[in-house]
């Protein structure tokens, strides 16, 4: 199945902005991040289709993830 991963801020370094990933059915978000060599503690905001999500969630084909390191402002 195809999952789009959008990376932001420092997570882009050496990885790029938007990655199209081919994943096996049942792959968890945690596994996808592992493949991208992103440590869980580097992730502060994790969205699936724009809605807050969790590491154990199994995305469906066509979903997109947005992943941010700790950032903020205002």
């Amino acid at each position: 199945m195809n999952i789009t991963v959008k990376l932001f801020a420092t997570l882009r370094e050496g990885r790029g902005k938007i990655l199209e990933m081919e994943c096996k059915e049942g792959t968890r978000i945690r596994d996808i991040l592992h493949d991208l060599k992103i440590e869980e503690k580097e992730v502060a905001i994790l969205l699936k289709n724009g809605i807050s999500s969790k590491m154990d969630v199994v995305p469906s084909c066509g979903d997109y993830l947005s992943i941010f390191p700790p950032v903020g402002g205002g």
């Binding site: 932001f8 801020a9 902005k17 905001i45 724009g50 809605i51 947005s66 390191p69 903020g72 402002g73």
Partner: protein, 604 residues
């Protein structure tokens, strides 16, 4: 005179009608009850300015106030606030600014200056330690903030710190602010117009004193603890230093709550082109931190030979997605002109967005533009040129310089102004973030995000994540955020420290400097007192609680596309809960019991 710690013990009173200058002793009881800055300034306003006063009349006063931690070694301890009655909202105004001016003013030996009356001719105030003089400002009248600052540096040397209005403030634009250190602003609620109405161009300061500390050893400990938290926290230690506040563009857009085309939409497909990442990659020249700030969120950018401080996230949003513009260079230019003319970037950009909707819907006609660039979504040239025309208060630009509410009202469609209590809302769509909507609706200075930054828990999961679509508990959270923020403002630190620091940390810093013994909870309670005092001022000014609301669009028209599709703000659910959490009546009036508890019974 007694020995003061944290406070300097002196408040300046300058009457521009009589041309008199008095040095008065600080009312320490009031200072301790309201901490300082925003709290103390509001207390002075309540005591001295009838809430029904016309904000641009001689009777209004303009108060510059520092906190007890301003000018100390505490992280970000350089803030000052401008408190007055707002000509934009008719509420109490308190605009907070960083940079270096606040600390310098404190070094000169003062906690606050109260400006009264009105000068016949343009004047400026020159403060150099004990010397305080009212001087002729005709040589800088009409000049931009940058030109004015440069002119004073010529006269007094490079070390001088200048807070000044630009041409917009001189011409009484209700969305004009006060600029200090060139690129920092006490921007919101039209405080620049109040200064302009008094014919006061600038306050120039040099100070060589220091702030007394009660317990240096305790301060050292409290300082190290706070600094460690700021360094270790991902947001204050890495995120803000690397990208500034602009990093929010992508975060907010990915959540589908980045207001686009005057809140007609909430997702901007070109967000990455105006993001903090792009800013850092293409335009940033250097960092531009405030006094004693270990975070350093400020950016300094350059494009086509124009360079200066900013832009911040809110500014990028306003001139960017809210106007449909994806040209970051143009946004940097519009930001520059706001700083030069002395316009509030949030209100100025949101007013251009409102004008674009008025143009789209045929209320503003092509001939009204008098040859200036067309007000159509995405027109980068338009945001730059119309900012200048607003700054010059010229033609249609003069109408726009009154802010979006009065602009839209003049065409019979005030509902197209995306404002609360006539002040433009910032860069987060409350339809997809319930708590920030409640905060906008109840903010004591109208549409504002830094009165209770609910984005922190609802989007950034700090200090913990809250479901942004849910209404549960948002009232309680909003109240705590509002109270906590009021205390942080009052003490003289930057709100951004609160991503890392907790109430106990602020209390420790404050106690070690002032010799007080507040707990973290008591520190927040003072914020509750400040909040209620502001509320009382607004009620006395005739601001009806029915104005605790949001534009109809956000309550009735669901978001049409993107991740937050289908949502509206459910203020009718959260507002009654909020009044209850505040200990107010169902109608939004503080109860006697509550006021007695806060020691505010005298202001009923």
């Amino acid at each position: 005179m007694q020995n003061y710690f944290g406070y300097q013990g002196t408040v300046l009173r300058v009457n521009l009608t009589e041309k008199t200058i008095k040095k008065e002793e600080l009312n320490l009881d009031d200072a301790l009850k309201f901490i300082g800055g925003r709290g103390l300034g509001t207390k002075i306003l309540m005591d001295e300015v009838d809430p029904k006063t016309d904000a641009l009349s001689t009777e209004n006063k303009l108060i510059f106030a520092t906190g007890p931690l301003t000018g100390t070694s505490t992280p970000t301890g350089g803030r000052y606030m401008v408190i007055t009655k707002s000509p934009l909202t008719g509420t109490v105004a308190c605009s907070n600014s960083g940079g270096y001016w606040g600390a310098e003013f404190k070094f000169a030996g003062y906690d606050a200056v109260i400006i009264e009356g009105k000068s016949e001719e343009p004047v400026y105030l020159n403060i150099a330690d004990d010397i305080v003089e009212i001087k002729d400002a005709s040589f800088v009248w009409g000049k931009t903030a940058g030109e004015t600052t440069a002119a004073f540096e010529e006269v007094y040397g490079k070390k001088v710190r200048v807070a000044t209005i630009g041409p917009a403030g001189e011409r009484l634009s209700k969305i004009s602010g006060i600029m200090n250190d060139r690129g920092r602003a006490a921007g919101r609620s039209g405080v620049g117009a109040v200064m302009g109405s008094k014919n006061l161009k600038a306050i120039v300061v040099r100070g060589t004193g220091k702030v007394n500390v009660n317990d240096a050893l305790k301060l050292k400990e409290a300082f190290s603890k706070s600094m460690a938290k700021i360094r270790e926290n991902g947001v204050t230690g890495q995120g803000l230093p690397t990208y500034g506040s602009a990093v929010l563009v992508n975060i907010i857009n990915e959540n589908g709550v980045l207001p686009t085309n005057n809140f007609q939409e909430s997702y901007f497909d070109k967000a990455d082109e105006i993001s903090g990442e792009t800013l850092a990659e293409k335009f940033m020249k250097k960092k531009d931190p405030c006094y004693r700030c270990p975070i350093g969120c400020g950016r300094y950018c350059e494009v086509d030979g124009i360079e200066g401080s900013g832009p911040e996230y809110e500014t990028i949003w306003g001139f960017g997605s809210d106007c449909g513009v994806s040209d970051l260079g143009a946004i940097i230019k519009a930001n520059y002109w706001c700083n030069e003319y002395g316009l509030d970037t949030i209100s100025a950009s949101a007013t251009i967005a409102a004008a674009m909707e008025l143009y789209q819907k045929g209320y503003i006609k092509k001939e009204d533009l008098e040859g200036a660039p067309e007000l159509i979504w995405g027109n980068a040239e338009a945001v730059v040129e119309w900012t200048k025309l607003m700054g010059q208060v010229k033609g249609l630009g003069a109408k726009m310089a009154e802010g979006s509410y009065r602009l839209c009202e003049s065409y019979g469609v005030p509902e197209l102004s995306m404002s609360v209590k006539k002040q433009e809302m910032p860069a987060y769509d409350p339809r997809g973030i319930q708590g920030i909507g409640l905060n906008y609706a109840t903010s004591n200075r109208g549409g504002c995000h830094v009165r209770g930054y609910m984005i922190s828990p609802e989007i950034l999961s700090l200090p913990q994540g809250l479901d942004r679509f849910a209404t549960d508990e948002k009232a309680e959270w909003t109240k705590i955020f509002q109270d906590f923020t009021a205390s942080i403002d009052a003490v003289g630190l930057c709100l951004f420290t609160s991503f890392a620091m907790g109430a106990d940390d602020y209390a420790d810093l404050y106690n070690s400097i002032c010799g007080t013994k507040l707990t973290g909870n008591e520190f927040i309670e003072i914020g509750d007192r400040i909040w209620n005092l502001e509320r009382l001022y607004n009620l006395k000014a005739g601001i009806d609680p029915s104005e605790d609301t949001l534009p109809k669009r956000l309550l009735e028209e669901p978001i049409s596309a993107g991740p937050s599709t289908g949502h509206v703000n459910k203020l009718s659910v959260t507002l009654p809960q909020y009044y209850k959490a505040r200990g107010w009546t169902e109608k939004g009036i503080p109860t006697e019991e509550k006021l007695t508890l806060l020691g505010l019974e005298a202001f009923k």
